[in-house]
């Protein structure tokens, strides 16, 4: 009981010692980088639809994601995306480019352990939970629609 009290007090004290950083700069960084990535996406879609008028809006949307994902993956390969991430935080995690980065970065990191057990297996260490939870949720959602 005494030990429990001491640990509780120590953890409270430790929390109070953690340096308080001002949140505003990092919120602003996340805001403008995140907004910019979305804006780039919108521009890609518009340019595509301008040059290929026969393309449907849905297809243009898919192309938009594909191009953003490819750009982010290549930037990750050149070692630039982690610098963007250090500046923007959620601003470069939440856009689809962050998903792409989360697949490419472990693949790069673990390629020394071989193509099969390194590169291919570790590719999904971060993106795996995203795909799994997304699929489970969407199947659940579809089944609810089937029933009602």
């Amino acid at each position: 009981m005494e030990v429990f009290e001491r640990d509780k007090k120590y953890n409270e004290y430790l929390q109070s010692k953690i340096p308080k950083t001002k949140p505003w700069p990092s919120l602003f960084h996340a805001f403008w980088i995140g907004g910019l990535i979305c804006l780039v996406g919108e521009c890609i879609k518009d340019v595509l639809m301008y040059f290929f008028p026969e393309m449907s809006a849905t297809d243009a949307g898919i192309w938009e994601s594909v191009i953003l994902i490819a750009i982010a993956s290549i930037l990750t390969g050149f070692g630039l995306y982690d610098r963007l991430g250090a500046y923007a935080g959620a601003g470069s995690i939440i856009p689809i480019t962050g998903f792409s980065n989360s697949i490419t970065s472990p693949a790069l990191e673990f390629k020394r352990e071989g193509v099969i057990f390194g590169l291919c297996a570790k590719m999904f260490t971060i993106a795996g939970p995203v795909i799994v939870s997304g699929l489970v949720a969407c199947v659940l959602c579809g089944i609810i629609y089937l029933i009602f």
């Binding site: 979305c38 879609k45 994902i69």
Partner: protein, 122 residues
Amino acid sequence: MFDILMYLKVFLVGGFICMIGQILIITTKMTSARILVTFLLLGVFLEAIKVFEPLKEFAGSGVTVPIMGFGYSLAKGAIEGAETGGILGVLQGGLTATAAGITVAVVIAFIVSLFCSSKTKK
């Protein structure tokens, strides 16, 4: 076609969503995988209650480029599948709608990692 007001809305809404994410990171110490999962599920949920479509009309890429757009596509695919193909439609729908994105992410990651290596941080 090139609509300045739309661009403004895309920028503001997209930025706002990322800012919410940053608030979550600061206040809850969430890691990037958790952030991605949370916003993906949010997208699925918003589509399930039919709110995402109007949002998309309003802000375009501002809501579809964030990972919630990925959740939206999954849910939309599954719901459309449910309407046309029953259970099988539900099982196929989600991945069919997002197949291009997932495939390109995996294939490009594979190619990039054959040519590049991770570099140390400065």
